[in-house]
């Protein structure tokens, strides 16, 4: 990207192709970190504990680390490709340039699906949390959670509508607080500061591996939840001041933060909560870190983790709206979806029509479906996306070997990460199959139907050559 001043205000968003109103380039690496970690950190506050239910506490730890390897591969591969393909739409744009249009359409839908579902899951959790607070403050009646669920989605959509800088700065602040809350909880309950309340040995006694090794496999399904969404950093590519540097940096710093947060979370929660309670995210522990704080007996910790949970859900929903709308916008811009969605707000410089359109969709899921189903659909879309990534990087390296185009970041040991990622994805497909085989098939059935719809109907509206926008040489083998 050499010596061009991409922060220039006069050229900003107005390039030679005739863009009159484009997205605003205002973000730095910290925003990228906040977008990536912000989306995911809620996974430590809720949802990951379904993995404990699937196979016990040890299984959840093994799944946590294997999923960590999976996501490290994802982050490495993603960083390399995205440091070269810097455009809103992230993996969608990568697929369009590297694999082909139909794959790109599918990847775009994976992204929108995964993020919108995750957004719905966050809103559900926020609503639940508010009802718990109502109960704690002595409200006797049954709180109606719906207005709060709707408020969360509406407020964050409004924030996103008004501009990306404020949105992600807000995310940076609340994500940092949520992360610090985990650190404080760890320090104050593990015995490092003051008295420890950890009793891993006593709590695990007799329940080390309640399902044996198949439980460990099954736990991989929800093991993804510790990190799901970190790949969303690439969606900011068109709004980052120097994408080739900030994206790899923010993404890799993000995955490191998450590996730490995930392990600490497992440690404190499994050391305090019995596994049957911890593992049941519906009837038992909906918000495990919050429940851990409740058993610590410290009012300060209860409030800190209560706010941590709320902030984490908000940060995540916020990032999801940001990412889903970017992907939807990018597909509209290329006419993969109706071109109407490819509009940018002339004052706020956001993809405003995509943001508005996805609000009712998120509401349908948040108000109409149970939490574990919503999470499963999000995970499945993510999983299909991670399966695409190794194919993507292998084709990328084959069509454009290292010396043919300049990359901002080159990941080491190729093709080892790609092969590892593919193997771990296969394992996770099996884990999902163990509990949610029907949904898996329904989901793939859905993608097959929309793929046919795209190939035989929708693709006629797409410009053939013009959709390839990167200044790359002709791919090898064509």
């Amino acid at each position: 990207m050499a010596d061009i001043d991409i922060t220039s205000q006069t050229m900003d968003g107005m390039g030679p192709h005739g863009t009159k109103v484009g997205l605003l380039r205002v973000l730095g690496p910290a925003h990228v970190w906040a977008l990536g970690v912000g989306i995911v950190l809620v996974g430590e506050y809720m949802g990951w504990n379904f993995a404990v239910g699937k196979g016990g506490a040890y299984a959840a730890l093994i799944a946590c680390w294997f999923a960590g390897i999976l996501y490290t591969c994802v982050a490495m591969i993603d960083s390399e490709v995205t440091s070269t393909v810097a455009a809103a739409g992230g993996q969608y744009t990568q697929a369009k340039h590297i694999v082909g249009p139909l794959m790109a359409f599918n990847v775009g839908l994976y992204l929108v699906f995964a993020y919108t579902m995750l957004e719905a899951a966050n809103a559900i959790t926020a609503g639940y949390l508010i009802s718990v607070v109502a109960g704690m403050t002595g409200y006797a009646g049954e709180l109606d959670q719906r207005p709060f669920i709707i408020l969360v989605i509406m407020f964050l959509a409004w924030l996103n509508y008004r501009g990306v800088l404020a949105t992600l700065t807000f995310n940076l602040v609340i994500t940092a607080i949520a992360f610090l809350a985990i650190l404080v909880l760890f320090l104050s309950t593990s015995g490092i500061l003051g008295g420890g309340i950890m009793q891993h040995t006593a709590l695990f006694e007799g329940h080390e591996m309640p399902y044996g090794w198949i439980g460990v496999l099954a736990a991989m399904h929800f093991g993804l939840w510790y990190y799901l969404g970190i790949e969303g950093t690439t969606q900011a590519a068109e709004e980052v001041r120097s994408p080739a540097r900030a994206l790899p940096f923010g993404t890799l710093a993000g995955i490191m933060t998450l590996l730490i947060a995930a392990t600490l979370t497992w440690y404190v929660c499994s050391g305090v909560l019995p596994w049957e309670f911890l593992g049941d995210g519906v009837n038992g522990s909906v918000a495990p870190l919050f429940d851990t704080a409740r058993l610590s007996g410290s009012n300060g910790l209860i409030w800190l983790l209560g706010f941590g949970t709320l902030f984490a859900t908000l940060a995540s929903a916020n990032g999801c709206i940001n990412d889903a709308s970017r992907a939807w916008f990018a597909m509209g811009r290329d006419k993969y979806l109706p071109g109407w969605f490819g509009a940018v707000h002339p004052r706020y410089r956001t993809p405003y029509r995509s943001i508005i359109f996805l609000v009712p969709i998120a509401l349908i899921f948040a108000l109409g479906a149970p939490l574990d189903q919503v999470i499963t659909f999000s995970i499945l879309s993510g999983l299909l996306e991670y399966t695409f990534m190794p194919l993507n990087i292998i084709m990328f390296r084959r069509k454009w070997p290292l010396n043919s185009i300049k990359r901002g970041y080159e990941h080491p040991f190729h093709p080892l990460p790609a092969v590892t990622l593919l193997a771990l994805c296969a394992l996770t497909f099996f884990a999902v199959f163990l509990g949610y085989g029907t949904q898996l098939v329904a989901m793939i059935g859905f993608y097959i139907v929309v793929s046919l719809w795209f190939h035989f109907w929708r693709y006629r509206f797409v410009n053939r050559g013009a959709q390839f926008t990167m200044p790359w040489p002709k791919p090898q083998g064509y």
Partner: protein
């Protein structure tokens, strides 16, 4: 009426206001700018700028 019941109504109200704000702004923008300007964003502007400079 209890505080939490009031908060429920406040949440409904604020949600409606935020929704209304977005819809009204959307209508205003759509009617005061031409569709060509609004959908003029193209992918890969940064890359295209770099390319032009190196030509």
């Amino acid at each position: 009426m209890e505080t939490w019941q009031i908060l429920e109504y406040v949440a409904w109200g604020v949600s409606a206001l935020l929704g209304l704000y977005m819809v009204i702004d959307w209508m205003k923008v759509d009617s005061s700018y031409s569709e060509d300007v609004l959908t003029s964003s193209r992918e890969g502007e940064l890359e295209a700028m770099t390319e032009e400079q190196h030509r």
